[in-house]
């Protein structure tokens, strides 16, 4: 027998590791997030990752399914008044908050009013048309609107529809986020900033049969490679936003599963067409023909392939081509260099030059470089300016840019992807686009509840805005989730938020 010293050196190390790793409980679902969430108060919260935690912590009045249909959650049914200015909700009976308080119509009224009135509330704009709330009876509540507002139901499927315990909220004031009390399948247990958020199963949950874990932990790990390494080493069961170039390899491994869900948001290029004087100083901001030529010089599929490893669905609108509100009257233009050159000639510009601002995110930088190379064929001279996100946002807000690579995480109702971006003087209208006709149509689309009629209005908006091109839409990224192959029941909801209810770990 030969003596192998390394064997004896490794033995205690292996034992030590086995001991330290064996403590993980089989009943805990361990989720890796790409960022650390902000405050855990649905009224004040602003971040996308915060919504992932909320989906286990705070139930909402409504939820959405894989096809963006609105489903009942805390509200079991709804009814609009004939003039569309009142929405009556029936509240689910027998629901309690994590502190044992009853969730009834009065609690719903408290929450809607809190969303509207708490200083610093991020929900105020989402619920702006709600003028007052009436409690009809213990389980019925009516939201009275100042004007018809079709996206209201969709707003109630997100943080604006989340209900927190009135007693706990009143007691904690604006510190509620450090110990949130809601009515979701899991209750808040602990948070160590930048390290973990721990939730524990809520024994009195109204739908407890759908909950199969005792605990959920959320760990922020910013680096996608390290997040994946944690999944592969068995430290995590689920990771969000894996890197697109890791998908192919991971899919070959039967121990893991990958989910890809087309986002409800988009990746686009915002063009300064009227935000500041700078809009008039470059041909792209000045002339819609130059913008059309720029769009025609782009090969969207090529961009998706090179930048996103094909993990994106190409599109030319604020909703994906698979969305029921996609305007088929404005089809996606194909790359046409000759036509682009002809348009530039018509516009009297031979070699249009402009600066494309991008954030430091790696995919945004890749996108800018590919666009630079692609549009050169038509004669464009694109200069790239890479700027840290906070600074770029400030510059965009001041109109100190010519074109800006900007993505939007999306909202279930198309209104959330267009109103604030294309309405005159709206907060997200970095392009500085303003058209009285478009504004009138945007307001009409908010007032119209009939989906068929609303779609007709949206088609008119699309025809107008996509001709003016304040934003050139490129593609809709896939949410890429990777998880333990034994995890069953993962639902691919387009908002990119994992629902833990219904998830089960096979033995």
């Amino acid at each position: 027998m030969t003596f192998k010293p390394q064997k004896y050196l490794l033995l205690p190390l292996s034992l030590f590791m086995a001991l330290s790793q064996g403590l993980a409980s089989a009943q805990t679902l361990r989720i890796g997030l790409a960022e650390d969430p902000d405050v855990l108060d649905p009224t004040l919260a602003r971040s996308f990752v915060g919504r992932i935690v909320f989906s286990s912590l705070c139930d909402k009045l409504f939820d959405i399914d894989e096809k963006l249909n609105i489903l009942p959650q805390l509200a079991t049914s709804y009814e609009w008044s004939a003039d569309s200015k009142a929405l009556t909700l029936k509240i689910r009976q027998g629901v309690t908050f994590h502190d044992g308080e009853k969730l009834d119509a009065a609690a719903v009224k408290f929450n809607i009013e809190r969303h509207k009135n708490l200083p610093g509330s991020n929900r105020r704009g989402e619920l702006a048309p709600v003028a007052s709330v009436d409690v009809i009876d213990a389980n019925t509540v009516r939201l009275n609107l100042s004007a018809p507002f079709a996206p209201l139901l969709a707003q109630l499927t997100d943080r604006a529809g989340m209900m927190v315990s009135p007693k706990a909220a009143q007691a904690a004031g604006d510190k509620f986020g450090s110990n949130p009390v809601c009515s979701g399948p899991f209750k808040f247990a602990e948070r160590v900033a930048q390290d973990r958020i721990v939730l524990e199963k809520f024994a009195n949950y109204w739908n407890k049969d759908a909950v199969h874990f005792d605990k959920v932990t959320y760990t922020p790990i910013p680096d996608a490679t390290v997040r994946l390494a944690n999944l592969k080493s068995g430290q995590l069961d689920f990771i969000e936003r894996m890197a697109s170039n890791d998908v192919e390899n991971l899919m070959k491994d039967k121990k893991y599963k990958v989910s890809r869900i087309t986002e409800i948001g988009y990746q686009g290029i915002t063009i300064n067409v009227g935000k500041s004087e700078q809009a008039k100083k470059n041909p792209l901001g000045r002339d819609a023909k130059v913008r059309e030529a720029f769009e025609l010089s782009l090969d969207r599929q090529g961009l998706a392939q090179v930048v996103m490893d094909n993990e994106a669905l190409v599109g030319n609108q604020w909703v994906a081509p698979t969305n029921s509100y996609y305007a088929k009257n404005v089809p996606m233009p194909k790359r046409d260099i000759e036509k682009a050159k002809a348009l530039l000639k018509e516009a009297g510009v031979v070699k249009p030059s402009f600066t494309l601002m991008t954030t430091t995110a790696s995919d945004a930088q890749r996108l800018a470089v590919v666009i630079q190379a692609m549009t050169r064929d038509a004669g464009f001279d694109v200069k790239i300016q890479t700027t840290e996100f906070a600074t770029s946002l400030n510059m965009a807000d001041k109109g100190d840019f010519e074109a800006y690579v900007l993505a939007w995480s999306g909202r279930p109702d198309p209104d959330g992807n267009m109103f604030s971006f294309h309405g005159c003087k709206q907060p997200l209208n970095y392009a500085g686009y303003c058209s009285a006709e478009t504004d009138a149509l945007l307001n009409q689309s908010r007032a119209e509840r009939d989906p068929v009629k609303r779609k007709k209005i949206m088609e008119q908006i699309s025809a107008q805005v996509l001709k003016d091109r304040p934003v050139i839409y490129l593609y809709h990224r896939n949410w890429l989730w990777a998880y333990n192959g034994k995890l069953a029941g993962v639902r691919n909801i387009p908002d990119g938020l994992l629902r833990v209810s219904g998830l089960k770990m096979a033995p």
């Binding site: 330290s20 971040s47 900033a193 680096d223």
Partner: protein, 313 residues
């Protein structure tokens, strides 16, 4: 000595005041409106206005500084606007993590760096010397994040021995804590070990040529005693100074290593706070670190006093 101590303590106060002004002033040079960053994706004008008022961003710089320093004097470093957590509790939460990581990294650096430096100096021109120099070059030129990811791939993904990232409190599980700290401590310690090795080598080479070492040898002392007892003791002085400086740097947070291994220490706290323009957190952490530095410096000066009797006169 007492009057010296009092003088030094009194000089700390204006230094800290100046540091607080610098921290506050320099941060204002960062581009971007904090209220807009903190307002999130929606950019609701009401929220931006609320945050502007809450953070006193619409007031002149000296007034804003006054609000902040008044709180600091009363022990209130403010709260993180992003997470609503008090800055002081964030600091106290992160301090043990950073201190432990710094301590373990220094242990790794000392255990590797000093023996390698001695071996290199003693065996100058031999294979040991070349090996130690190659190690030093490797340690100095290997980026921490790259080495970190390679180690994760090997020890976590491939071999499954160590957790890929995260921090386990020693109060919860001591073994788990050491397992979670092993790789980040090695990555950080490795780079410092290279610096220590180079300094130990040059200090030892210098000392070994001095007269007293020759005398020790002439007296017939064995080589081991000459090197470890006579040469190393004198060579250690500059190495200790360097080690203390490196330790101080580690205490202010190792941004990249903490980011790769998701260690919730000062580095990660301050990095996230800068990107999110969470001013109260940045100011609080930098002021705390600066105070620690100044106090450590003061303690070092006091220690010289104690060690060197001539200074007491």
């Amino acid at each position: 000595m007492t009057s010296y101590l009092v003088k030094r303590l009194l000089s700390v106060l204006p230094t800290l005041l100046l540091v607080s002004m610098l921290i506050f002033g320099l941060q204002q040079l960062l581009p971007g409106d904090p209220a807009k960053i903190l307002a999130g994706e929606e950019q609701d004008p009401n929220v931006v206005a609320y945050l502007t008022a809450k953070l006193h961003l619409d007031e002149p710089l000296p007034v804003r500084y006054g609000y902040w320093i008044a709180g600091v004097v009363q022990g209130d470093l403010g709260e993180s606007v992003r997470t609503q957590l008090p800055v002081l509790s964030l600091i106290l939460q992160k301090l043990p993590v950073t201190a432990e990581l710094a301590f373990l990294a220094m242990c790794v650096a000392i255990v590797i760096g000093i023996p390698a430096g001695i071996a290199s100096a003693v065996g100058r021109g031999t294979v040991w010397d070349y090996a130690a120099n190659v190690f030093a070059l490797w340690g100095l030129s290997t980026p921490n994040f790259w080495l970190g990811i390679l180690m994760i791939m090997l020890f976590s993904v491939h071999l499954g021995w160590l957790p890929a990232s995260g921090f386990v409190s020693p109060k919860e599980d001591l073994l788990g804590n050491l397992a979670s700290m092993a790789m980040p401590a090695f990555v950080l310690g490795n780079a410092i070990a290279a610096v220590l090795m180079r300094h130990t080598r040059s200090a030892m080479l210098q000392v070994m040529q001095s007269d007293y070492v020759r005398t020790a040898r002439a007296k017939g002392l064995d080589e081991r005693t000459v090197i470890l007892k006579h040469a190393l003791r004198n060579a250690l002085t500059p190495i200790i100074t360097l080690g203390a400086l490196e330790f101080g740097t580690l205490l202010s947070g190792a941004v990249l290593t903490e980011q790769v291994f998701t260690i919730p220490g000062f580095g990660k706290l301050i990095l996230d706070a800068v990107f999110n323009r969470d001013y109260a957190v940045v100011q609080g952490v930098v002021l705390f670190t600066a105070t620690t530095y100044i106090m450590l410096n003061l303690m070092a000066d006091m220690a010289y006093f104690w060690v060197n009797p001539r200074l007491r006169k």
